[in-house]
Amino acid sequence: MKQIGEPILTADRITLAFGGITALNAISIGIRQHEILAMIGPNGAGKTSMLNVINGFYHPQAGTITWKGETRRRVRPYHAAAQGIARTFQNVALFKGMTTLDNIMTGRLLQMRRNFLWQAIHFGPAEQEELAHRARVERIIDFLEIQAIRKTPVGRLPYGLQKRVELGRALAMEPELLLLDEPMAGMNVEEKEDMCRLILDINDEFGTTIALIEHDMGVVMDISDRVVVLDYGRKIADGPPEEVRVSPDVIAAYLGEER
């Protein structure tokens, strides 16, 4: 039985506006350690924007993010990455010119220490480091069962496999918080089940806290510990899946109201 701990990331009254449109309206969310949090809501509700704020791509006009005790409003994406937050994207953001192996190896960059002079010589410390990271990446590749496409340039892979590679890259960062933006978009039932199993395994084996955006209600109800519902930039529900499912606000948002 896993232990869900204290909140590891707290978003406090985040407000994000683009010109006249308010994407996020004073939203407060807490993500607790080791839990799987699902963010759901109609399109345009602000879910991806919320991830972007956590990640540092967007800077909110108001509100703060507290990550592992440190509070800040704006952060550069590479700082967020260095602090242990990894991310996947709706439209797969892989490096199309590189192979699967290289893409996942890029996830190890933060852990690589040897500077370019050692690398220029290659033999010695740089090679040792490279091989050590390669070993870890191969474990991830085994975990995701993508051995066969190791050397394939990712541009040539089908969408489902690309998503898996992107997940691999995020895992390679050994993150404490993993943000997944619609990880099952465009997949059939089998692929979704595989992805669900992977997410649960990641949470189980590595203890990674996971926040995911997802549209498939079945998936959400099955794997998440807690669900947050957004609608037009406001949070309208926050609790265990069974509660959220029967909440009148949520039903109104999704199905509309009777007139």
């Binding site: 791509f57 994207f89 439209n91 953001a93």
Partner: protein, 299 residues
């Protein structure tokens, strides 16, 4: 007030209009086919050479028509032989292809039309004029030719701006520049568009070639004027017709003023790089040029 400054300034502005004219060709092609046509300068040279040699055997109006026809023919050839085979390639490939076209045109033009320095006389008076005598004692010295050139360039720019914004073809051109495949999927004939655009750019090159050729004589250095137009593009934005004008004015004025006032401290000859550094500084403030489209990147 130092009237010498004003004189230098006006001289610079007038030169700037001519830079803008060359830059205009770049902007047209970039707006409509997202290709950075490095060969624009060579097209100016080619057009001017064609005109000068044609004028030796036929009267001016006929020579102009013939030269225009040649440029249109060139557009067809470029579309057929270079653009069509390279239709979905990366930007740098297309850019390098236009450099290949530059080399080809330079060699072709000079082997076909000869490589002497030809004088081009269209009958535009080149008298020095003194303007503003009533306001400023002694007046401002300008060359009548430069004034006529500025007027011609201004008219051309106005016509092209209207063409792009108001006409159906203009809209189609903008669609093509945005996304080749999407444009095709709504039925815009890509090839026709490209021929039209490169023809128009060719005609602009003809006008620019005429003006620069009249000023400097028709010789190889005209092709190098393109290198002066590049800072104009950086400043004004690659996708903006008014940007080409404003950029041209700023670069022209900046060049002349810097040569006169900064030159003595730095040893002279800074014209070549000053425009680039100036444009670079502007770009640091606005990375897409003054009037260029903002490059929005989403993940």
């Amino acid at each position: 007030m130092n009237f010498f400054v004003v004189e230098v300034l006006i001289g610079g502005l007038l030169t700037g209009v001519l830079y803008a004219l060359v830059a205009l060709g770049f902007v047209l092609i970039f707006k409509a086919s997202a290709v950075f046509n490095f060969a624009q300068g060579s097209m100016c040279l080619f057009a001017a050479l064609a005109l000068v040699r044609l004028m030796e055997v036929m009267p001016l109006p006929l020579a102009l028509l013939a030269a225009a026809a040649i440029m249109i023919g060139l557009a067809f050839a470029i579309e057929r032989l270079v653009l069509r085979p390279l239709v979905n390639q990366a930007a740098i490939i297309l850019f390098m292809a236009t450099i290949g076209i530059t080399f080809f045109l330079d060699g072709f033009g000079q082997s076909l039309f000869g490589s002497k320095v030809y004088t081009l006389d269209l009958g535009i008076p080149k008298n020095p004029l003194i303007l503003f005598e009533s306001i400023i004692p002694g007046g401002i010295l300008v060359n009548e030719f430069d004034l006529w050139a500025a007027v011609a360039a201004g008219l051309l720019v106005a016509v092209l701006a209207v063409f792009f914004q108001r006409t159906r073809i203009g809209r189609a051109l903008r669609a093509v520049a945005d996304d080749h495949q999407a444009a095709q999927s709504v039925g815009i004939p890509l090839r026709h568009i490209w021929v039209i655009v490169w023809s128009v750019a060719g005609l602009v090159a003809l006008v620019a070639g005429i003006i620069w050729g009249s000023k400097l004589g028709v010789q190889f250095s005209i092709a190098l004027v393109a290198l002066k137009a590049l800072p104009v593009l950086m400043l004004g934005g690659l996708t903006s017709v008014p940007g080409a004008i404003v950029g041209g004015l700023i670069v022209g004025a900046g060049e002349k003023l810097s040569e006169v006032f900064l030159g003595p401290f730095l040893g002279g000859g800074i014209e070549n790089w000053f425009a680039y550094v100036l444009a670079l500084l502007f770009l640091l403030a606005r990375p897409q040029g003054l009037f260029g489209e903002r490059i929005i990147e989403r993940v």
